[in-house]
């Protein structure tokens, strides 16, 4: 056999494909992602401190809402995260159902508590902003109600996943619910356009520019980036713990813990 035919019969694997294959291995995933978690937490803390300093101290009070607008530096990034995490969970659920990749199943399921936490923060911060601004903590407005439905969807996914003993079966059922629930995402996003709501429309657009002054916009964007790192760090931590829990009797778990303890 000459060199040319050997090259044809053994095609070289793409580096990205190789990386995805490696990520599917629990010990490799556990060790690889463990390196990123401290960095993600550090970046989150620095960005959150910087964003909160700019938002709570440096930014001027709003001419109409007064000081209460400062709640939006928590409410808006949390609301964006509640939608982004659900979208990610729905996409990962689809991948998990089609290709049956256990790590992706775990990532989808461990996203749910983080998304639920951000949704609770969105609803409570929004409610506390609504009292001085609208004169009420709550109205059954389309945006608020659809965000509350999102919280129930997160709780449904968490509940369903924990109610079935066999983890793979539980993940499949919960992934299906997560995918069906994704229909709520465009309803939340377009609710302020489709219905006449008390909740105002978006002030920031990726395409059409923003109606907020830069001194108020930058802290918001910094907080939005900070919450992404919070999600990354928390997701990887939860996924690693879930892997240890599921593989408690496997040799790699003991080896990893032995290495860690010296």
């Amino acid at each position: 056999m000459n060199v040319k035919t050997e090259k044809i019969s053994k095609p070289r694997k793409n580096a990205l494909v190789m990386f995805i294959h490696k990520m599917g291995s629990p010990p490799w995933f556990y060790n690889f992602t463990g390196k990123f978690i401290p960095w993600f937490w550090a970046i989150f803390i620095v960005l959150a401190a910087w964003g909160l300093y700019l938002g709570l101290v440096k930014a001027p009070a709003d001419y109409l809402q007064g000081e209460s607008f400062r709640i939006l530096y928590l409410h808006v990034p949390a609301a964006w995260m509640s939608l982004l995490i659900y979208s990610m969970m729905a996409v990962m659920s689809f991948i998990a159902l089609v290709w049956r990749i256990r790590i992706v199943e775990i990532l989808a399921m461990t996203s749910a508590p983080i998304g639920a936490a951000f949704t609770i923060v969105t609803l409570t911060a929004g409610s506390l902003w609504g009292r001085p601004t609208w004169g009420t903590y709550w109205v059954w407005d389309a945006r608020l109600t659809s965000e509350l439905v999102l919280l129930f969807l997160y709780l449904g996914v968490i509940g369903l996943y924990n109610s079935i003993d066999e983890p793979r079966k539980a993940a499949r059922a919960a992934c299906l619910l997560a995918m069906v629930g994704a229909v709520n995402l465009p309803i939340i996003h377009y609710s302020v356009k489709w219905w006449n709501t008390l909740h105002q429309g978006s002030s920031i657009s990726l395409t059409g520019g923003s109606s907020i002054d830069p001194s108020m916009l930058w802290p918001l964007l910094i907080m939005a980036v900070a919450t992404k790192f919070y999600y990354g760090a928390n997701l990887l931590t939860r996924a690693r713990v879930k892997l240890l829990e599921q593989d408690i009797r496997k040799a790699w778990v003991r080896e990893v813990l032995k290495e860690k303890n010296g």
Binding site: I71, L74, H75, R131
Partner: protein
């Protein structure tokens, strides 16, 4: 109406929820690690008695 209590309330609830969400998996990890150590000890003990 003073807005300060609303701002402090919103950030306090946010901090508690996000802090709990970050700490909960670490507590779980601690209990799993303890379970694994106990399992290893039980296995070692049964191996010793067999030999």
């Amino acid at each position: 109406m003073s807005h300060t209590p609303f701002i402090i309330g919103a950030y306090s609830i946010g901090a508690v929820v996000l802090l709990w969400c970050a700490v909960a998996p670490l507590i779980r990890k601690k209990s799993i690690t303890r379970d694994i150590r106990r399992l290893v000890q039980i296995e070692e003990r049964s191996r010793d008695t067999n030999t």
